[in-house]
Structure formats: C-alpha cells, structure tokens
C-alpha cells in the first residue's frame, strides 16, 4: 500500500477503503472523475465500457431517479443503480 488517499489514475493498489465514493452515491449536480471500475461481473463491465465510463472520464450527475442520468462531455447516458455502484469515483 502506498498510503495515498487520492488514488492515482489506474492505480491497482488503491482500495475502496480510500476511495469509498461510487457513482451511485453521488448527488444530483455532483461532478466527479471516474477512478476505477469495480464491477464484479464481466457483463456489467462491458456495458460500462460501451457507455464510455472509463477511468479518467469526467462526469456530472443530472438525475438519480428513476435511473441515474450522467453527462459526460456532450454525451448523456442512463444507467441503473446496480451499474453505478460499480463505478468508483473521486471529486
């Protein structure tokens, strides 16, 4: 463990202990950067990759209900809480 709390881009060590915040926990209007994809299932991961949710991507939460609506640049994507919970972010 390097002990960092920032979690450098693509860091394989940084754990959820340091980066507890996920996309699913962000409130409406919050801006954050994706740090890591923590989805357990390969299928979920491929969906996030298809949407372009990747480490380093900056996003803004527009809506949480009935599903998450997230803006990334000029694109807007919708995803459910299950998928959003697997995206570790930092502000």
């Amino acid at each position: 463990m390097c002990g960092t709390t920032a979690g450098c881009d693509g860091c394989p060590i940084a754990s959820d202990f340091y980066l507890a915040e996920t996309l699913g926990s962000l409130e409406v209007g919050a801006k954050a950067t994706v740090r890591r994809l923590a989805s357990a299932k390969g299928g979920d991961l491929r969906k996030l990759l298809a949407l372009g949710v990747l480490p380093g991507v900056e996003l803004e939460v527009e809506r949480r209900w009935p599903a998450m609506v997230v803006r990334m640049g000029y694109a807007t994507v919708a995803l459910d809480q299950g998928l959003a919970a697997g995206v570790v972010v930092s502000r």
Partner: protein, 643 residues
Amino acid sequence: MPATTEQAPAGSWLLVGAPNVGKSALFGRLTGHYATVSNYPGTSVEVTTGERRTTGAAIRVTDSPGIYSLLAVTEEERVARRAALGDGATLVQVVDASHLDRALPLTLQLLSLGKPLVLACNYLDEARARGVVPDVGALAERLGIPVVGTVATTGEGVDALAEAAASARSPADGWGTPQPFAAVLDGFAEGGAERLEAELALCGDPELEPLLAARSSERWRAAVRLRDAQWPTAEAFAVALATARRRMALALLDGVVPDAPQVRRRHQALDRLFLSPWTGIPIVLLVLYLGFYKFVGQFGAQTLVDWIERVVFDRWLTPYATAGTRAVVPWAPVADLLVGPYGLFSLGVRYAVAIVLPIVASFFLVFALLEDSGYLPRLALLLDRGLKRIGLSGRAVIPLVLGFGCNTMATLVTRTLESRRERVIVTLLLALAIPCSAQLGVVLGILSVYPSAVAVWAGVLLGVFVVVGWLAAKLLPGEPPSFFLELPPLRRPLLRNVLLKTGTRVRWYFAEIFPLFLLASVILWVGDLTGALRWATALLVPVVRSIGLPDGAAPAFLYGFFRRDFGAAGLFDLARAGVLGPAALTTAAVTITLFVPCVAQFLVMRKERGLRTAVGVLVTATVVAFAVGGAVGWVLRNVGGWA
C-alpha cells in the same frame, strides 16, 4: 507493420458506428434507398444492403447495427462486429462530430485491422451550433485516413464522402494494439481480424473467448499466460486496454476539437419533463391517448377504414369486380375463389387493404415520430424500474412498443436485449398480451361503442401482462438484467424521414402478410367447398360456447389461426351485424387478443428462439387466452348492466 497500400476492392463499403450517429440516414443518402433510421439505439437489427449507382460500376453499401465498441454486449452488436471483421469491404465509420472523443477508440480498433477506413463526421450541423466543429483536415493527417464532415439529413458532404470511400486505401501507418498490451498478443500477426479477435477474447468476450479457448492454440495459451502474469483478471485487462485507447484518442484529438465551454443539452427543460416520473407518466398517458387511441384507434381504424371499405371497396371496386368476374367465369366455385365469401378479392384483398393497411400505416407513422424525436430512450428510462419487476430492463420498451405495431417485427427486435432470459420473457409477452396494431385498431373500433368495455379489455390485458411477466421472471432462471442506455439529444423529426420510414415499414409488413391473407382465403375457400370448414367450425363451437360466446363467433377464431388481425377483423363483421352484445364482445376481444400469435409470428419465434420455446409460448398463449376469456365472460354475465 505491414504498410500495405494496395487498392481496396472498391466494390463494397460497410457503414459502422455507434447508435444515433445518423448511420442509416447516411446509408439512405449513399444508396438512394432507405433503411429504417431512428433516434433510438437498436432499430437496424440486421445488416441492410443497398447499391450505389454512379457513373462507374455499382457499389454495394451495407449498413450495420449500432456498436459502441467491438467488445459486444448484445446479439445485434455481435452481428455488427462479424460484419466489420468479416469481408474485405472498405469501412466507413460514422461518428457524431460533437462526440469524437467517444468514437475514436473504436476508430483505433478498426485501424488495427489494416483495412481501408474512412471517417464520416456526421451531425456537423449540431457541432456547428455547439461551436465544436472538428478540424477534419488535421484529424485526417494524424490518422492517415480520409475524414469527411457530413450532414446526412440534408445531404451535405455525402458526395465528398463517397469520393473518399471510393479511393480509400489501407492505412499506411500501423495502428496496432498499444503497449504493453501488444506484447501479450505477439503470437498473432498484426493487421488482421485474427489478432483483434484474440484481443477481444483476452478481454473476456463471451463469444470469442470460448471459441479461442476451445481451439487452444499454442499462441493463445501463451497470450493468456502473459495476460495473467500482469493483470489479475480478464476484466482488469479489458479496462486497462480501453483506458489506454482512450488516452491515445484524447492525444490525437488535442488541437483538433476546440475547447468550447460545456454547453447544456438542447431542450434541457423539456427533457426534465420527460424524465421525471411526476410529469413523465402523465406525458406517457397523453402520448398513448393522442397517438394511439385517437390517431390509430379512431382516425386510422375508424375514419380511414370506413372510408376505404364503404366508399373505395363497396361503392367503387366490389360491384364491378363481382359483376365482372361472374360474367367472365361462369363456373360458380371458381368465381367464388375470387369474389365469393372467402374469395381472394372479397376477403383477402379487402381485409388486407381496407382494414389492416390504414391501421398499420397510422401506427408506424406515430412510432416513427416517437423514434425520430428521441422520445423512446426517455420512455425506456422512465419505465425501467417497473419493468425490472417482471424480469426486464428499460431496454425492453422498444420491442414491447413496436409490438403494438407488428408482433412479428418486434420479436425480431428482441435481439437488442442482452440475455436470453429477457428475450424469452419479451417473446412470450408479445405473443400473449400485446395486441398488434391491426388487432388493436379493430378491437378498439368494435368496443368504442361501449367505453366500459374498452376499460375492461385494457385492464384485463394489463393484468395478464403483469402477472405473466412476474411469473416468467420468477420461473425462468438467470440474473436480473441491468439497465444502460445512451440518451440521444431530443431532435425535431424531419417529415421526409418519418414518411420514408413509415413507407419502408408498411412495405415490409405488406410483403410479409399479403401472401398469408391470400393463402388464408384459399384455405378457407377449399374448406368451404369440401365441407371441412363447417366441420372445423363445429369443432370450435363448444370451445366458443365454453367462454360464453354465441356460435357465430367460431369462424372468427378460425380466421385467428391465420392472422391475429384476421380473426379480429372477423369479429368486426360480427359486431356490425349486431350478433354480439357488450359482454360477449368484450369476452371475444379479450380472448382473440390473448390467443395464439399469427403464423408469421410463430415462424419468427421458431427462428429466433428455437422450436421448443416457440411451442411453449404457443401452448401458454392458448391456455391463458381461453382461461382468462372464460373467466371474464363468466364475471361479465354475472354483473349487472352487461348483458
């Protein structure tokens, strides 16, 4: 790096790209044909091929389903991937000019194939409005391939794109897999589909990984060993590789795309109204009421049907056709084949053109408007939570809504769903509880005299939909689906596109059903001539009686075997004749709607889901139809005011 510069086989182009980038509209511009284009992910399910005829030889142009990345999620994305990796066509990647950063990773993957590639930056008009027009010249120089700005809806830049595609050569520069990932793939030669397939398999692709693992070549095992030595899982490898490609893409775009301030999405306020359940649900109901009940149900199924049937057929066509045929063909049974009660003209053509055509055409018109405006993805998001209860995700909205137009077409579109479980549930619900537009129009037409009958009918169908969906989700094994979807901007539908699309769908529908209508006429004619029809009707009478209907309803059920709408149209005649009262009509409408799918739908179910599932759906639909129909009939007969 094989820096090939040989001339590509200029004979064929393949359009690839993400959903909602205007691929199909561009296809229409290039070929003059029209594929169904829409503002929704997943409406071109199969590849569509057309021809471009210019001064030289004809060029084959193929459109493929939308794909974000070659790491495919759904069956239709696999169709697109197979097309892209397959033949030697020149690839034309269509991208949204405002979203280059999202599209370029796919460009880099495609470049590694070493095939001729052209980039079409579409929706240049929207990029202009946002002030983010890319420098296509600089991008072309960096990538070493032609890059052309286009506006498919107006035709701008289309000729330049065609010119670029016709003269495109294999990219001179090698765009292989970035390091350190390339080292893992050392055993596979660069610049070919094989290496890219190996890369996708190493990323854990559910189709390709088992394929390569089964072959178990030495180089594959070596690649797996190298991957496992550096990355904990296939998923970690996939994310790391995708991240590396994204960085490459951003570096390439540096200076190509202006740094414009982040502007809000267009129609932001309207979008909020669509997406918030408080306003969104009333809007859905309003759309259903105006679009489907008022326009399809009343204008299409009543006003138009009445006019075509009573004026065009009864006054203009039928008298002459009947008199003419009887005069020319003296032998009555043969004349009956054309103009008798089950004649090709009087039954087949009349039902198809006078009853079904206006209803189906008006439905597809409304659907095309909803599609092109970008409303459907909003609907998917709104209904996601509700659909999760019945084992589906918001994505299932598309086939379900399309089912109200044509269940057969909708069954094909279930390919856009991710898991087999979702596909089976939607197939079952389509066959059972979703009436197609022809049925819907006819049933609404019959029942509209009794508003409470419409309410009972709709309530029963909704109940069956929810209960059967809930049970299917409980009984079918598999994981609950997750919901993910890109929301395209809300766009004003172009009348030209909407009309062309409606026309394309109506043509497809007619090619599919017209022969069946004629075949049904012939079978009924033969049955009538040989007495088999009376025998079959007599056989159905006890079944019809068991749900409380008069004997006269039996033929309508018999017609229902050929087409669901055919059966409903049979009921239409009965209602006109005043044989059925409100209770009987409601019972008949419920049963016919739930009843077995039409022949075409059954054939598509067998093709898409296999014989076992298709037969299972058929049996379930029959049992549920008569059980529910019987129950509704019993309740209505025992409730005051319904006799």
